[in-house]
Amino acid sequence: MELKKSITHFNWALFFSFLIIFLIGVFNLYSASSLMTEEGIKTFSYYKKQMVWGGIGMGVLIFMFLLDYNKIKNYVWFIYGASIVLLVWVLLFGSHIKGARRWIDLKFFSLQPSEIAKFAVIVTLAYMLSEIETISWKNFFKITLIALVPALLIIIQPDLGSGLVLLLIASMMMLYRGVKEYVFWPVIYLIPIGLPIFWHFLSDYQKTRLLILFNSNLDPYGAGYNIRQAQIAVGSGQIWGNGYLKGAQSQLLFLPEKHTDFVWAVFAEEWGFVGCLVLISLFCIFLYYLANVIKDTKDDFGRFLAVGIFFFFFWHIFINIGMVLKIFPVVGLPLPFMSYGGSFTILSFALIGLSLNIFSRKFIFK
């Protein structure tokens, strides 16, 4: 009975807008997995694996869609606790890749606990915010602590991007609930005071990456290399792009991290401004339907879950594209549905499933 109603009120618009982006993502990943050699184009299997993650993700999506999301409330602290344990675990025993401990090696799959933490923080905060009216000092400290612990554990991996995005999602969720004026303003004033301290804790390459925003020729073969090559890739796409599989920056490997964080540059180089306009529009349509899920939600938990999910996608999309285009500093965040990555793809599908669930259930309570 419930299932039938869920399906009649299924949010097809959200589902298709996300699916189209994912398919474009796989298509683009095929190009991002390729490189030109003397013998011709050689392609790695990332795009195939990404389809497998998509398949698994779809299963998780269906599970998340069918589940009574209110039951999650009962497991919130268990999920939160587990994610903290995993974050500590990865710091102690995680595999070292490119100077960071971010993955737990499960033989067939490398788990990224920071992605689980993102999920855990969203559900935990949604639960906490559903229990209160507004945010007073007490609530502020409680919620901040809940977000800050995993965020700091992620930042010291180091994974500055995921840590900061966690804090951003948390603060946006709090703002959606409503923050008392006497809490809001002191916190805003504290930010400029806190920034130098924050700066102090950054490593040298992170500082350089921030400074590159203002001086594009800084360290062009070191910390500035990636962003410089990404600018060249995007810019040389011009209006119509170089054509599929013809992006020289990407095919000749000048563009680093091209199948993960810089996948947007591959797309921009090959499809140009017109392609980017289409894809940005698709992302906006997707975000629009995602935001609309919040409308008319009957319960607070569902509403704040939807808010958290919206901001999860919003910040990942904006910061990733913004960093490739040098609007933001390079912090290392994946682009939803486009970047290669198991944990992140499955998490994205799970959150979409949850959002679809919330949308459908609005009608059950009528």
Binding site: L35, M36, T37, E38, T134, M172, L175, Y176, R177, G178, V179, K180, E181, Y182, F184, Q229, Q231, I232, A233, V234, G235, S236, G237, Q238, I239, A248, Q249, L252, L253, F254, A268, G272, F273, C276, L277, I280, S281, F283, C284, L287, Y288, A291, N292, I294, K295, F310, F314, I317, F318, I321, G322, L325, K326, I327
Partner: protein, 590 residues
């Protein structure tokens, strides 16, 4: 108690929509800036990332003699190089390589270590330049054991006859900074003609460079190659030089400092051009060592100087032909009028001596030329005056460039009153006119000028451009101001110099050939040494010897001009050389 409801800062759905709009416009604005506004710039940067341009060098044209013998050509040279990215075990390969090339492993390794950072990835690092063909075949047979070793073939200019033709052909060498500044098409490492015909005809010989575009990936591995412009090979150059005659004449001047010009009197074609001592032009191609360069530049006999066009000495009695022509042309003196030569000539309170101590007695013009009487020409000199002689000498091509196709030609000097005033701030002395009239003093001429003038006597007064390039039409640069019968008198006097037993060039007489000549002896110091045996005089004080001559048989006419620095008397030092050359020429053309 006042209960005040505090306000709450809150965002709602509309704020989220605004967020989406901000995202949309900010990213698109930035994309518009990067892809449309600055797109062209980034396209250029992307090209710089992956495209490399290399010149393709054309083969330089060959230089041949008039019969097609090759005098200069590009020959392949073989360098052994290593591409470190292709080499699995560099130490092992270098050890093996050292066994084949006879260079110690330590030296090879040292070279590799010192050069490897200067060479881009996937580019060859030259370990052993210019390996012999024998070594090369050994290497080629064992190439599979020498992974990463490559044989690089590149052309090297080769001059088969080295010093014999160095002063004609010159040489090529790597362009220096000055050359690079002058010619924007040149790149560092390009070869250009530095002197001789290689310099004069550099553009023709060098052809046009081609261009190759190479696409590389981030590791500099070459992915694609494309020829954008094919190179245009250089054109061959055929010379008027007769290689065998050149070699023969070269040997005649062995051990001496001097110059020989053999010229076709009717066309100006140069059959042989010798300047000794000389140098090996091949040394410069490979980059001359400082020691060798120093040795060449400080050599007291100046091997780098092309004496045919650059050595300027007084012409000695050879100049009497010019003075005679001048006297005839301006009707100042009858050729049949006789003058008495007592062995000296008095001007004011000075005595000017004739080379023949006891004098020539009564001589007319023909006798004065053939016996080279100084007194006769002192008289003419006094009669004509320096300015008339100078003007006439210039019209005979002296004090002017002949325009031969060789760089750095010198024009010598024909003195005038004005020149002396400017140069020494002194007035011209009448005595100096007499000295000039017998070809001594300030006068300075080059062997090529003398040869050209001599040819004019045979070819009815035409001053021809001395020509080195086969097939060029004779270029008349001027006509000697002299009437036909007057020219005949001069020509006949030269023939008499050979044929008459009193003639100074009697020793070069050859049967069946009409030969005319004029000797010249340039005094280096006072006449005390004049009668002594040559070998007893210190080298630097010996006289310079001139002989210029022509020979005619049937429709052929040649000019041979010989100059021997510190050679002694014109007739005895230069005469036998002239005779040998004519004998050689007419034996061959019989």
């Amino acid at each position: 108690m006042v209960f005040r409801k505090t306000r709450v800062i809150q965002i709602n759905l509309n704020v989220l929509y605004i967020f989406i709009l901000v995202f949309f416009f900010v990213t698109l604005l930035r994309l518009w800036y990067l892809q449309i506004l600055k797109g062209e710039d980034y396209v250029k940067l992307a090209r710089n990332n992956r495209l490399r341009y290399y010149s393709i060098y054309p083969l330089r044209g060959k230089i041949k003699d008039r019969f097609g013998n090759i005098l200069a050509e590009d020959k392949p040279a073989y360098d052994l190089a290593i591409i470190k990215e292709d080499c699995p075990n560099i130490k092992e390969v270098l050890k093996r390589l050292s066994g084949y090339v006879g260079v110690s492993y330590e030296d090879l390794y040292k070279k590799f270590i010192s050069q490897r950072h200067k060479v881009k990835p996937f580019r060859p690092l030259i370990l052993v330049p210019n390996v012999s063909f024998k070594t090369l075949s050994k290497i080629e047979m064992n190439l599979e054991k020498l992974k990463g070793v490559h044989v690089i073939i590149h052309p090297v200019r080769h001059y088969s006859y080295g010093p014999i033709l160095a002063h004609v052909i010159g040489y090529v060498a790597q362009a220096d900074l000055k050359d690079l500044k002058k010619n924007k098409n040149l790149e560092l490492g390009d070869y250009i003609g530095k002197t001789g015909l290689e310099k004069q005809f550099n553009d023709l010989l060098s052809g046009k460079k081609g261009l190759k575009q190479v696409e590389v990936n981030v590791f500099e591995r070459i992915i694609k190659e494309k020829v954008i412009k094919e190179p245009e090979p250089g054109k061959d150059l055929s010379l008027t030089i007769d290689l065998n005659l050149q070699k023969y004449a070269w040997d005649l001047l062995k051990g001496k400092c001097g110059a020989i010009v053999v010229m076709d009197a009717y066309t100006g074609d140069i059959l042989a051009l010798i300047s000794r001592p000389s140098y090996d032009p091949n040394l410069f191609v490979k980059g001359i060592s400082y020691k060798m360069w120093k040795k060449l530049t400080t050599d007291p006999f100046h091997p780098l100087q092309n004496r045919v066009i650059q050595s300027t000495f007084p012409p000695g009695s050879v100049f009497k032909l010019v003075v005679a022509g001048c006297a005839l042309y301006y009707n100042k003196f009858s050729p049949y009028k006789k003058i008495f030569c007592p062995g000296f000539y008095v001007l004011g309170n000075r005595r000017f001596r004739c080379w023949k101590k006891w004098g020539h007695g009564w001589v007319n013009m023909k006798e004065a030329i053939s016996q080279s009487c100084d007194v006769y020409f002192y008289k003419l000199g006094e009669l004509l005056g320096i300015d008339l002689i100078s003007e006439y000498a210039k019209k005979c091509g002296f004090g002017q460039l002949t325009g031969i196709d060789l760089p750095y030609e010198k024009k010598g000097l024909v003195p005038t009153k004005e020149w002396k005033l400017k140069r020494f701030k002194e007035r011209w002395q009448k005595g100096e006119t007499l000295v000039t009239a017998i070809g001594q003093g300030y006068l300075q001429v080059t062997p090529i000028q003398v040869a050209r003038f001599t040819a004019a006597i045979v070819n009815h007064g035409k001053l021809l451009k001395p020509n080195l390039i086969l097939g060029q039409k004779p270029l008349v640069q001027g006509i000697i101001p002299v009437r036909k019968n007057e020219l005949k008198i001069i020509k006949n006097s030269m023939i008499m110099t050979v044929n008459s037993s009193h003639g100074t060039a009697h020793l070069i007489k050859l049967k069946g050939i009409t030969i005319g000549a004029k000797t010249g002896t340039v005094q280096v110091t006072n006449k005390l040494y004049r009668e002594k045996e040559l070998k007893k005089i210190p080298y630097k004080l010996r006289d310079h010897a001139w002989m210029t001559s022509f020979a005619q048989k049937k429709n052929k006419a040649y000019v041979v001009t010989v100059f021997v620095e510190h050679g002694g008397m014109g007739s005895s030092a230069a005469g036998p050389i002239v005779k040998s050359i004519y004998r050689y020429i007419f034996k061959r053309f019989r």
